[in-house]
Structures are given as C-alpha cells and as structure tokens.
Symmetry: none
Subunit: 203 residues, 2 copies
Amino acid sequence: MKPLTDRQQDILTFIERSLLQDGFPPTIAEIAAAFGVRSTNSIRGHLQALARKGAIELVPAASRGIRLLKATPSPEQGLPLVGRVAAGQPILAEEHIEGYCRLGPELFDHRADYLLRVQGMSMRDAGILDGDLLAVQRTPEARNGQIVVARIHDEATVKRLRLEGVKAFLEPANPDFAIIEVDLQREQLVIEGVVVGVIRSGL
Amino acid sequence: MKPLTDRQQDILTFIERSLLQDGFPPTIAEIAAAFGVRSTNSIRGHLQALARKGAIELVPAASRGIRLLKATPSPEQGLPLVGRVAAGQPILAEEHIEGYCRLGPELFDHRADYLLRVQGMSMRDAGILDGDLLAVQRTPEARNGQIVVARIHDEATVKRLRLEGVKAFLEPANPDFAIIEVDLQREQLVIEGVVVGVIRSGL
DNA sequence: CACTATACTGCTTATAAAAGCAGTAACCAT
DNA sequence: ATGGTTACTGCTTTTATAAGCAGTATAGTG
C-alpha cells in the first residue's frame, strides 16, 4: 500500500473514531466540518485518494458509504464468505467475498479458512443442500472419500473425491447427478480445499 | 427491556448483519426492500418501536442514523452448546452446557440463542444428520412447517411441526421413523424453540 | 519549463434518504 | 363497543448528501 499523506492519515483516523463513537461512518460534509474545511470537495479528493491506496472503499451513491478495509473495527472479523466463483479466477479474489461471518475457525474439527455458498443439490444425500455454507480448509491435498472443492475445466465444484490409479472420480451424493471422471494424465484436477463443515441458515 | 416482536427481532438482526457486512447501517428504504415491504413508513414504525424498547438509538435527520445499543449478547464467549437434555429439566440448565461456540448470533437469518447437538437420524431428509449442531431460537411460538425443538412427555425432540385443529403432529424427515401425534386437549406440547440453522463439524 | 500531486474555495445539480400525512386491516385487552 | 398495538400502503415534502464543474495556490519532479 502506498504511504498516506499526513492529511489522509488524519482523515482516516477521524473516520475510525466516528465509527466507534457513532456506530456509523461520517458524511463528507461532517468530515469537512470537523477539519474546518469549507468545501466538501477537498475531502472528496482525500477519500478518493484513500480508496486508491486501499485504505477504504467508497460505495457509490450511498450516504456515509465509507467502508474501512485495513483497520478492523472488531479484532476478529471472522471467516470470509465466498459467493459465486467465476471461471478462471482464484476463489478468494476480493470481488467474490460477500461478507464475513463471525465464527471461530476452531469451531470445526479441522480449521476452516473460508466459507463457500453451495449452489445446487448434487450433494443432497450428504446433508448438503442448496444455499448451505461450506466451511472449507484450503489445502491441495485430499484423501480418498473426502468432500472436496475441486476445479475442473476452470469451474469450481463440490464433490466427494475417489482416487483409483491414474483416474479420479468426483462423485455427487445424489443419484440424479452424474459422476465426473478425470484422467489425471491428460486433464488437470485442482483441489482447492476440503470441506470440514456445513452451516445452514435459511430455516 | 420489553420483549421484541418477531418482526422487530428480524429487523434488528438484519441491521446487525448489514453493519458487519457493509460497515455502516442500512437506510430505512434498504430495510424495506430487504423485507419486501413497499412502504418505508412501516419500517420506520418498527425502528421507533426498537428505539422505545432500548434496542437501538435513532439519530434524527441523519442518514443511516441507527445506533445499536445492546452489543451482541455474549460477545466473547459465544453461544452455549447444549448436549444431552435430561428429562424434566430446562434445556439451558447449566449442567447440560458442554461449551461455548464462538459465532455471532446474527450469522443466521433469525437470531440463535443456543446450539443443540442432534441425536439420531430422524431428520435425515431435511439435511440434519446425527451429531449436527442445531442453532435454536428460544421461542414458544412456532408456525406450521417449521422445524422445532419440542418437549413431549418430558423428553426433548427435534421434528417438523404440523398443526391441524386440536391435533399437533411432529413429523420426522425420514420414512423409517413414525409421526408423533399429540392431542393438544389432553397432552401438553411445549415448544422450546425453532431451528434457525444447522452446523456440521464432523467432516 | 511543463507536468503532476496535494490541498483547498465556491458554487450548482441530482438524488438519496428522512420525515410527514392520511389511510386500511388485523388482533388483543378492557 | 372502545382503545391500543402491530403491520402495512401510497403518497408528498423537506433536507441531507454525493457528485459535478470551474477555479486558485503551493510544492515537488523530470
């Protein structure tokens, strides 16, 4: 991150204190008033600079649309919740992160690194339903029979892994879906992580 | 503090989650949109009720001027995890509490009060398996079709609730188990809470 | 020198958002 | 019945706020 100017640092500190005191971020006009500046435009420039440098995020057209990125208001921000995973992009790319869930990574038997929202019913019989959140541990290694997050043909999928010699099978837990067969000598199978837990909130 | 209505509780939870995800509170219009309500006025009423009951504070004439007063109930220790429930004893009796799980009660669509460990496979087809943790909201009211924690003959059980006149049916989600029929005129059915989420950690 | 970044003034404009007013309807308690 | 609370619709008005445009001044840099 590029270094902040003194003025930018002061403004950032003011935003953090406002957030703690008021419970919500200040408006641009409030910042200007606090610094004795008569024009909001100056502050806007500073905010845009802070956004460029990655210190904050500005939500367009939203009042008080300032989001602190680096400084976490609560010490533990929780696990990142990943939504749709686009083809050809890493899972933890920032644009996929829908939010953060405050839960301890040690809640599960194995440490979870992030949460992934399930799409579809292909793992129904394993008790994994559409819309569930999967707690995923980020690891390239998976054992036979584990439920994994795999990437095949640039598409992310959740299946049970079965390894037999040079072939890998990605087995759904639902007879309505087909087993995906991968010839490891010709195709690439990337294991993004193993599923260590399930969370369902839509009840 | 006066008890909140279901609607008020839902809105409070939504505000908490917005705050965690966005970094600032929602506008009244955003809350209305999230709940599919066409008039912002209804939400204003709810917010004023929440302010009257001391759950939030409203900053007049300020956009997103919602301040949470009651910080999340157990910020440090998390939700209590209840193990086996003995006959004739309240669920949250201290001797049943196995431990505390560090997760925010606002993680689920409705606020969870405690976690309960599932015994048996009677709700298998609802994606609830043996050993899962259920997030339970403590309420004596349940709607038709909700999965509830009920107490019948001094024994706690998790089933889907179906109400038909003076009879209540506790339906398992597994053809291997029998439906429990309760005549409300002769027997007492105590609803301990409704299931608002599922957590599975043994994967 | 031209060129860029920082830091500001002083307006205007568009819109986001709170606040107000007048209703309807259901439910509950007295 | 009567009043209170909850829960909503559908408008209008007012103000809070972001965003845009046109400038000024200072300092550093190749």
